[in-house]
Symmetry: C2
Subunit: 329 residues, 2 copies
């Protein structure tokens, strides 16, 4: 497949593995890139810039093809040495960075001076327009369906992708709600040049999380997510379990962050992924769980998506669209 | 175009004008059907069954092609003579009914005995499965993006359509978030057999609402809606204005229906549409406002959507999907 995204970012298929805290490690990013997609190592999952350098080297053992690094910039309690992470990224020869979380402007000169292309992920048309204006090389537009941070606008991809495309002339991929060839074709029809998938890649053989969490994603339906931290205007979509439902309940009843801090901090993310108890804490998963029924390798997943997209375009859609005219002519 | 929906319901294009209170009158339904789509007269917009009979006759003056009637069954303060409306529908020779609001089971025998096909609109996979089981002839699956009643699950079309398709084998159209050929192709790719549009048809020349409301839809973006009655678990998506925002505020602060009843009842719907002040009361509009930029005739709108869908499938998608393989071969 060839789209403005594959051309600009030098990958075979317009399928990106989204940056995911605790999940975006060498095994996964390497496997996705080796299969022709764009894998992303999550920088801040590595405790130090030196660890990131080692993680990039580990991915290089898996693939010779390009992979990238996600650099998410969010308010944190402990200051993060972003400048050192940036240097680790370019010193390791990485040529693609996904930024997310806040305005990428402060990083653009540095990355472009080092020949790094920047793909910026955001959740609204106005932020996409701003990122395009400060010179990013691609936009990843992320709808309400997504795992992690959907923002506060609640605009799903069906509308957000088409609305963003009206304003965005650089390569743009769609994120949130994608798991298969149907979604890829829908995204392309709506005006995107490819898709980003998070939850779907979490649920692959190479994904470095506990098997029981993957099985839970397979079992979950599109109804099994919660939006936590909504009242704090820092919404995050996570898998529904007792911890996330309790978090929502406390905050909806007027609780403050302090009231749920212990609930979410002691057990979140990495511990669930490592210990394999999907009920033990907060972990991200999107509504697209409802479309995930198996745990394939990244290579099988990507080739299946590409084959399904091809079949949809060249058989299903070609047969439906235009067929009536021929019959009536 | 030919899809399982156009075949089963006997229309030229798989484009339905959704049932809309105060908007689904003869002028609009007649124009949509005359243009090859499926227009729907909203039964309960007519004060009596006799008025519905007259409204159907008015639509027959506009088109010889099939149009349908929407029968929405919701709890009401005044009892509605549903049985009389049903008889008015079949006595007028209507062959297509859209049901919505609750389980269509009590109406199925009557309609099928009178050779009426039933298209049931619902907002979740489980309700779609139930409707299929009780024998409806088609499903209209309605995502979180939609105007009016999105339900309480908050699953957008991108996921809901594909998830429903896994369970639904009868003709199924997608509703919520559609306004153009991009959306039609996306819906078909996701597994739907057509689309339903509400807000987009509100904003046409033939739509029997005040010009200023249409202009407001054109001006509004995807951000300009509110979800009212959320705390009452009777959510409705309406245009954002001072009245709807105040309604949300009062209910979010613990108010009861009684606290907003006067606010929403005195000025809602029909008065806005007739008087033309978009700020004066509650009126339905979907997030798809962000994709609506003009006020075309229904014929121009439908032919544009069909032409755009054709171009997307036969030019854009065909060029993108499969292109890489050819280049590399």
């Amino acid at each position: 497949m060839r789209t403005p995204f594959t051309e600009a970012f030098g990958v075979e298929y317009p399928i990106v593995q989204g940056g995911m805290q605790w999940v975006g490690r060498a095994e996964l990013a390497g496997a996705v890139s080796e299969a022709g997609g764009l894998g992303l190592i999550t920088a801040l999952t590595q405790p130090t810039p030196e660890d990131l350098t080692k993680e990039i080297a580990r991915a290089r053992e898996i693939t010779d093809k390009p992979f990238g690094v996600n650099l998410t910039i969010l308010p944190t309690i402990k200051p993060v040495p972003y400048d050192e992470y940036r240097h680790a990224i370019v010193d390791a020869g990485i040529t693609i960075v996904e930024t997310a979380g806040s305005n990428p402007a402060p990083h653009m000169d540095f990355f472009h001076e080092h020949n790094v292309k920047v793909l910026h992920k955001c959740t609204s048309v106005r932020h996409a327009v701003k990122a395009q204006a400060v010179g990013v090389d691609g936009i990843s537009i992320d709808g309400f369906e997504c795992a992690g941070h959907p923002g506060e606008d609640d605009v799903p991809g069906l509308i957000l992708i088409a609305a963003a495309r009206k304003e965005i002339s650089i390569p743009m991929i769609a994120s949130g709600g994608f798991a298969d060839g149907r979604g890829l074709v829908a995204a392309l029809a709506l005006g995107a040049d490819g898709i980003n998938m998070g939850t779907r890649f979490m649920c692959t053989v190479e994904s470095p999380i506990h098997e029981k969490v993957k099985q839970q994603i397979v079992e979950n339906s599109e109804l099994d997510t919660e939006l936590i931290f909504r009242t704090l205007r820092n919404t995050s979509r996570v898998a529904s379990n007792e911890v996330s439902r309790e978090t929502v309940r406390i905050l909806n009843e007027g609780g403050k962050f302090e009231d749920v801090q212990q609930l979410v901090a002691g057990v979140r993310g990495v511990k669930v992924y490592e210990n394999g108890d999907p009920e033990a804490g907060i972990w991200s998963a999107g509504q697209v769980q409802g479309l995930i029924d198996d745990i394939p390798t990244c290579a099988d997943l990507i080739s299946r998506i590409v084959a399904e997209a091809d079949e949809i375009v060249n058989e299903r859609l070609s047969a439906l669209v235009g067929a009536g005219e021929q019959v009536q002519a």
